[in-house]
């Protein structure tokens, strides 16, 4: 095994081009487990800790450019306002020790269907900025996950940053596990209201081969909210609409039975989480709308 220690992003790209099999390591919270347990013996480890810019973030007009290695702890502490869904998801990651090391870049690189950040990224809307010596490109989050622990990266590419849309409305995140800390999700659900476009976006984790959006459920809800004038009148969402939304979310899963839970449990739980996160976010939206109206 060789340990590559690039001191800059350019050096990292050059190293990855020269050694496409090199495994990038940043927080190490996935890679080191595999090495410790002898599940993986990469020829090259490509350490990204010395590339300082990867732990920087910039808050722009419409989105946040989040460096690939920004630890979850920083997302929770500094980006709760701009990225509430991702901040909530970050808070459910493992433990403080792990959140101090791990970041969204690693979650995307591993591309496990159970990765905690994915549902929040799918719901918020995001693009993954990847680069190689050949050039840079941005991959829409919907096209990033290609299979179980597979993603759209080419062999010579590295993840540099994630561009996540700033919240324009309430966001929620929900995760099912056996306790509050140190759990891999049995399943997870992210939901974001986008009042500017009058749309709702979702993200489901651990209930299909890849993280997915519940697109049929989104379309149904968008139409129902529009038809009922809900965005304007701020009324409580009809229980039958919420139920239909939850059922469609459950139906968009394609889960398996495994040690953490059965497929039918996962489907059921996703439906429950969908209804709850919709209720929470909508209550918050109504509250904000009422306040704004009162002030005007």
């Amino acid at each position: 095994m060789d340990f590559l220690r690039p001191a800059s992003w350019e050096e990292a790209l050059a190293a990855k081009a020269e050694h496409p099999t090199a495994v990038p390591i940043a927080g190490g919270t996935d890679v080191m487990v595999e090495i410790n347990f002898d599940h993986r013996r990469p020829e090259y480890l490509l350490d990204l800790n010395r590339v300082g810019e990867l732990t920087d973030w910039e808050v722009g007009e419409d989105s946040v450019r989040l460096g690939a290695s920004v630890p979850y702890t920083h997302i929770m502490e500094h980006l709760r306002g701009e990225l509430p869904g991702l901040a909530l998801a970050s808070h459910t990651v493992a433990s403080p020790q792990i959140r101090n090391r791990g970041g969204v870049g690693g979650n995307l690189g591993t591309a496990s269907p159970a990765g905690d950040a994915h549902p929040a990224l799918l719901a918020a809307g995001a693009e993954v900025e990847v680069e190689s010596v050949r050039g840079s490109r941005r991959i829409p989050i919907d096209e990033f996950y290609t299979g179980v622990k597979r993603n759209a990266l080419a062999a010579d590419e590295l993840i540099r940053a994630v561009h996540v849309k700033k919240a324009d409305g309430p966001q929620q995140y929900s995760k099912v596990g056996t306790r509050n800390a140190m759990v891999i999700a049995v399943c997870a659900f992210g939901l974001a209201l986008h009042p500017e476009t009058r749309t709702v976006r979702t993200g489901i984790g651990s209930a299909a081969p890849t993280p997915v959006r519940a697109k049929a459920a989104e379309e149904f809800l968008n139409a129902a909210l529009e038809e009922g004038g809900f965005w304007d009148n701020g009324k409580i969402i009809t229980p039958s609409v919420a139920k239909q939304f939850a059922d469609l979310c459950a139906a968009s899963c394609n889960p398996i039975d495994d040690v953490r839970g059965t497929a039918s449990y996962r489907r059921h739980a996703v439906g429950i989480m969908a209804r709850r996160t919709l209720t929470w976010t909508w209550e918050s939206y109504r509250g904000t709308a009422a306040t704004t109206e009162g002030a005007a």
């Binding site: 390591i25 919270t29 080191m32 090495i35 347990f37 013996r41 433990s95 020790q97 090391r101």
Partner: protein, 178 residues
């Protein structure tokens, strides 16, 4: 490969380090610092918790090569670290004893003993490092703060109640001292 870094205030050099080796292995097997415990090797138990540039991490998940040029504090250096923090400066030489023998205990260590928070002791080093860091950030933690800060450290003996007592005790004593 060779790795140069600072451990408990002292420059250290580890030789013949395998590239896939963890910081935990280097500390225990190459530098003679067995205080950080090796249990799960997957970041679940927290018994290998150390401070890396001040930040609590699982040393089993840090590749040895990643600590080049960086600063690590282990449970062996906790007493000195706490002392320096209290004095507001750092002793130039680091401690005499690398294994922490002969040094006074850190307040958090004394509180664990006084509260009876140590049973088999295997989880204790990780809990001490994590608890000490929390008290540095948050001198008046609520019970929820303590539980959250220690949520990455498993103890199979105590049922955590005595550990909670110990951290509350250390916080109270810290408050009196000011």
């Amino acid at each position: 490969m060779r790795v140069n870094f600072t451990v408990n205030g002292r420059p250290q050099e580890a030789d013949d380090v395998w590239e896939g080796e963890s910081l935990l292995y280097v500390l225990r097997e190459r530098l003679g610092l067995p205080g950080s415990k090796n249990a799960c090797e997957q970041g679940e138990c927290g018994s290998c918790t150390v401070r890396l540039d001040g930040v609590p991490v699982c040393s089993c998940l840090v590749a040895a090569g990643q600590v080049e040029g960086r600063e690590v504090v282990t449970v062996e250096g906790l007493a000195d670290y706490a002392k320096e923090r209290a004095c507001g400066h750092r002793s130039p030489e680091g401690q005499d004893s690398q294994t922490g023998e002969g040094t006074e205990l850190a307040p958090i260590q004394q509180a664990f003993i006084d509260a009876g928070a140590v049973q088999c002791g295997f989880c204790t080093p990780g809990l001490l490092v994590a608890a000490d860091e929390m008290l540095e950030r948050n001198p008046n933690p609520s019970d929820a703060d303590i539980r959250e800060a220690l949520s990455g450290n498993l103890c199979r003996c105590t049922g955590y109640e005595k550990i909670m007592d110990a951290v509350r005790l250390a916080a109270a004593r810290q408050g009196e001292a000011v």
